[in-house]
C-alpha cells in the first residue's frame, strides 16, 4: 500500500481550504489507500471489479473491461479506468435485491415480530459513473415520499459516493439527453476527473467527500455535526470534463407524444420485441418497484422486500385472473411513462439517468433510448432532427444500433 499522494489546489476563484469546492489531486494509490482505510475501520467498499477480462457486448471494437459493482476486500482489485459502465447498477447499496423487513415467530395463536436486516456497515462506493450517482437522489424522492422508509434511509445514510467522470462512452450512453453528463456532480460526494498526470482532480461536493480527502491527506476530518444527504443537484463544473455522448434523442418530443396520447405505435412495436425478462429493470439504477412477500420456515419466517419488475405479468395480475396490463406492450408503456411522465409529474424530475444499462442487458436489443426515439418520431411536433449526430446511432424507428466499438474520446 502506497502512501496517499494528495495535494490541495487552489480553485479558479482563489478559494482554498476546506470549503465544499475544494479540489484535491489524487492518484490510484491514493484512492486505493482511502478504500483500505475505510475497510480498516470496519466499513464496506464497493466498486467496479472484473472477474475475467471479457469484452463488452460489441464483439469487434476495442475491448473495454466488463465490470460489475461488487464488494471488495482488496481495493487493489478495483477497476478505476477504461470501463464504460458496470453491467449492474449501484442501486443494491440502497435497495438490495432482497431485504428482510422484519421477522415473525408464531407460537400457538400468538405472533411475535422480530427485527429485520441489521443496519449496513458504512459503505464507500468507489467508481460510480455520474449516471449511477445521480440515481440516488432520484430514488430518494420516491422513498421519502410522505414519510421515511427506515431500511432505505439507513442504507442511504451509510453511503458515501466517489464518482469517476467519464472519458469514454458507448452508443448506449445517453446521459446528455436526460440532463446529465460525463462530469455531472449530482448524487456524488466526491467527483474524480482525470488529469494529465494519469491521476484525478477530486472535486469535494459534500461534507462526506471532505472527510474522505481529509482522511487521505492524513489531516483530521473536519468536525461536521450533521451530514444531510444531498438530494439536489450541484451545478456541473463544465470546464473539467469531456463533452460526453451526443444528445441521442429529443426526450421532450418523446414526452410530448406520451402525454398527447396513451396509445402510441411505439408500444406495440416495443411489446413485440420485449421478452418480458425484466433485465432492464434489474440493471436500471432508478427502477425501484418492489414486491413484499413472506418467506416461511415452519412457524417462523421473514417478510421480505424483493425487487420486482413492471415487465412481469405477475406484477399487476389480480387474484381473479384479470390483468390491467395484459401484454408486453402495456408493460413497456408503463415503464416508459413511469420514467418520463408519472414520476416527473410527482417529483419534477426524470426517472432515468441515461446510463444505457437497459439496452446493454436486454436480450432483444431493446432499451429506453430506442423506445424514446420511436416515440419522438411520432411526436405531435414532428420527428426530432439535428440531434442524432453520433455516427453510431440506430435508425429512428425503434430498431437498434448494431454493436459498434465503444466510443472513446481522443
Amino acid at each position: 500500500m502506497t502512501t496517499p499522494t494528495t495535494q490541495q489546489v487552489t480553485d479558479a476563484d482563489g478559494a482554498a481550504g476546506a470549503d465544499l469546492r475544494e479540489q484535491v489531486l489524487l492518484d490510484r494509490d491514493g484512492l486505493v489507500a482511502i478504500a483500505a482505510g475505510w475497510l480498516a475501520r470496519g466499513g464496506r467498499v464497493v466498486g467496479p471489479v472484473t472477474g475475467r477480462a471479457v469484452a463488452a457486448r460489441a464483439p469487434l471494437g476495442p475491448r473495454t473491461p466488463r465490470v460489475r459493482f461488487a464488494p471488495v476486500t482488496d481495493p487493489e482489485l478495483l477497476v478505476l479506468d477504461g470501463f464504460v459502465h458496470a453491467t449492474n447498477s449501484a442501486k443494491p447499496l440502497v435497495m438490495p435485491m432482497t431485504e428482510k423487513l422484519y421477522g415473525y415467530r408464531r407460537e400457538g395463536r400468538s405472533v411475535e415480530l422480530t427485527p429485520g436486516d441489521p443496519p449496513p456497515a458504512p459503505t464507500l462506493l468507489i467508481g460510480a459513473r455520474p449516471c449511477d450517482a445521480a440515481a440516488f437522489p432520484i430514488l430518494d424522492k420516491v422513498m421519502r415520499w410522505d414519510g421515511a422508509d427506515p431500511g432505505y434511509e439507513r442504507r442511504r445514510e451509510a453511503l458515501t459516493v466517489v464518482t469517476l467522470a467519464c472519458t469514454a462512452w458507448d452508443e448506449h450512453c445517453f446521459c446528455t439527453s436526460v440532463g446529465l453528463g460525463p462530469a455531472a456532480t449530482r448524487g456524488s460526494d466526491l467527483l474524480l476527473t482525470p488529469d494529465a498526470a494519469g491521476g484525478w482532480r477530486a472535486r469535494v461536493l459534500t461534507d462526506r467527500g471532505a472527510r474522505l480527502t481529509a482522511a487521505a491527506s492524513g489531516e483530521p476530518a473536519p468536525a461536521v455535526p450533521s451530514d444531510p444527504v444531498p438530494s439536489d443537484p450541484v451545478p456541473d463544473d463544465a470546464g473539467l470534463a469531456p463533452s460526453g455522448p451526443p444528445v441521442r434523442v429529443d426526450v421532450a418530443a418523446a414526452t410530448r407524444a406520451m402525454r398527447a396520447s396513451f396509445d402510441q405505435p411505439a408500444w406495440a412495436e416495443a411489446g413485440r420485441q420485449c421478452t418480458g425478462c425484466g433485465a432492464c429493470t434489474y440493471t436500471c439504477p432508478t427502477c425501484h418497484c418492489f414486491d413484499i412477500a413472506d418467506e416461511a420456515h415452519g412457524l417462523q419466517g421473514a417478510r421480505r422486500r424483493n425487487w420486482d419488475s413492471c415487465q412481469f405479468a405477475s406484477f399487476t395480475a389480480h387474484a381473479s385472473g384479470h390483468n390491467p396490463r395484459p401484454d408486453q406492450a402495456s408493460r413497456q408503456r408503463q415503464r416508459l411513462r413511469h420514467k418520463f411522465v408519472t414520476y416527473p409529474d410527482l417529483f419534477q424530475d426524470l426517472l432515468c439517468t441515461g446510463c444505457g444499462n437497459c439496452y446493454r442487458a436486454c436480450p432483444a436489443n431493446l432499451g429506453v433510448l430506442q423506445v424514446l426515439r420511436a416515440l419522438a418520431v411520432g411526436s405531435p411536433s414532428g420527428p426530432d432532427d439535428g440531434l442524432d449526430d453520433g455516427p453510431d446511432d440506430g435508425s429512428a424507428d425503434g430498431s437498434v444500433a448494431t454493436g459498434d466499438a465503444a466510443e472513446v474520446r481522443a
Binding site: R41, G42, R44, L101, Y102, Y104, R106, R109, S110, V111, L113, T114, P115, G116, D117, P118, P119, P120, A121, P122, V142, M143, W145, D146, G147, A148, D149, P150, G151, R154, E157, A158, F262, H288, C289, F290, D291, I292, A293, D294, A296, L299, G301, R303, R305, D308, F315, T316, H318, A319, S320, P324, R325, S330, R333, Q334, H338, V341, T342, D345
Partner: protein, 289 residues
C-alpha cells in the same frame, strides 16, 4: 464512521411496513368461498383510539403467507373492532380461510382516500353493489344509516349471481328496517331458490326499474366491470352527473404508500389518491385497468 455493522436491527414503530398485531374476534362464512372477519388490536388503547374513514382499506397479514389488501368493511363508527371480507382466491386468502378466533393477524393502515360522505349530506343516495363487491359498499351503508338524519332517501340495489352468492345477506333486512331506506335485492336470471323473496334480474335492469335519480341524488357503484358498464348509463339517464357517482377501484398493491409501483393507472396511484374516484375521474383515466 457512524453505525455499527454488528448492531442488531430494530423494530421501529415508525416503520411503514411493520404491521400492528390484531386478534381475530370472529369469522363468518358468507358464501362457499367468502368469509368475513372481525378483529381487534391487541393493544386496547390502540383499538379505542383507532380512526378511519369509510372507503379506506387495510393491508392484512397472515404471517407465513403474506399480505393482502381488503377494504375496511365495517362502519368507521364502530370502535370496538375492524372488519374485512375476502374471497378465497389466492395464496394469502387461502391462508386466511383457516383463520380462527383468537389467532393473531397483522394490519397496516388505514390507507387511501374515502367516500365523500360530507358531500352526500342532504342528498338522496343510491348504493349499487354486485357480488363480492358488497363489503366496500356495506361500510358506507352502515355509516349513512348510523347518521340517518343527515341523508335523504337511501336505496340499496344489491345483486349476485345466485342466492348463495350474496354476502352480508342477513344484514339486508336490518338496513331495510331503517326509515326512508329501501333495499332492492336481486339474483341473476336462474339464480333464485324456491324461497327467494327478492327479484330476479341483472343489477342494471333492476336499478332502472327502482325509480331512483334526480339532480339531488348521489350514487356509489362497486361491482364487476360488466355491472358498472351497464349501470352507469342508467344512473346518468336518471339525472346523476358523473361527478355524483363514485366507485372504489382495486388493483394489485404491495406497499400501500405509493412506492412499490404497481397500482397506478396512468398518473394516479390507487393506494394514495384512490381507491375512491368519481366517474368523472374514472372516465378520464387511461385504459390501463
Amino acid at each position: 464512521m457512524n453505525g455499527d455493522p454488528a448492531a442488531e436491527g430494530t423494530l421501529a414503530p415508525s416503520d411503514p411496513y411493520l404491521p400492528e398485531l390484531m386478534e381475530v374476534v370472529s369469522v363468518t362464512q358468507q358464501t362457499s368461498d367468502v368469509k368475513s372477519v372481525r378483529a381487534r388490536f391487541l393493544d386496547p388503547d390502540r383499538q379505542r383510539d383507532f380512526r378511519f374513514r369509510v372507503g379506506q382499506f387495510g393491508i392484512w397479514s397472515r404471517f407465513g403467507a403474506g399480505e393482502s389488501v381488503f377494504n375496511l368493511c365495517g362502519s368507521s363508527t364502530w370502535h370496538d373492532r375492524l372488519e374485512f371480507c375476502f374471497r378465497r382466491v389466492g395464496k394469502v386468502t387461502d391462508a386466511f380461510w383457516g383463520v380462527q378466533p383468537g389467532e393473531v393477524i397483522g394490519f397496516r393502515g388505514p390507507y387511501g382516500n374515502s367516500y365523500p360522505v360530507q358531500e352526500w349530506e342532504g342528498r338522496d343516495l343510491v348504493f349499487v353493489a354486485g357480488g363480492i363487491a358488497m363489503p366496500p359498499v356495506r361500510c358506507a351503508i352502515w355509516y349513512c344509516l348510523e347518521h340517518r338524519e343527515r341523508f335523504g332517501e337511501i336505496t340499496v340495489v344489491y345483486g349476485a349471481r345466485s342466492v348463495a352468492d350474496l354476502v352480508f345477506a342477513d344484514e339486508l333486512d336490518q338496513w331495510a328496517a331503517h326509515p326512508r331506506t329501501r333495499v332492492v335485492k336481486t339474483v341473476d336470471p336462474g339464480g333464485r331458490t324456491p324461497d327467494w323473496d327478492g327479484l330476479e334480474g341483472f343489477v342494471p335492469t333492476v336499478l332502472a326499474e327502482a325509480g331512483v335519480g334526480g339532480a339531488d341524488t348521489s350514487a356509489l357503484v362497486v361491482g364487476p366491470p360488466v355491472m358498472i358498464k351497464y349501470s352507469l348509463p342508467v344512473l346518468m339517464e336518471a339525472g346523476l352527473a358523473p361527478n355524483r357517482i363514485h366507485s372504489s377501484l382495486e388493483n394489485r398493491m404491495k406497499c400501500g404508500i405509493g412506492r412499490c409501483g404497481r397500482c397506478n393507472v396512468g398518473g394516479t396511484y390507487l393506494c394514495k389518491q384512490g381507491p375512491v374516484y368519481s366517474f368523472e375521474e374514472i372516465m378520464a383515466m387511461p385504459a390501463d385497468m
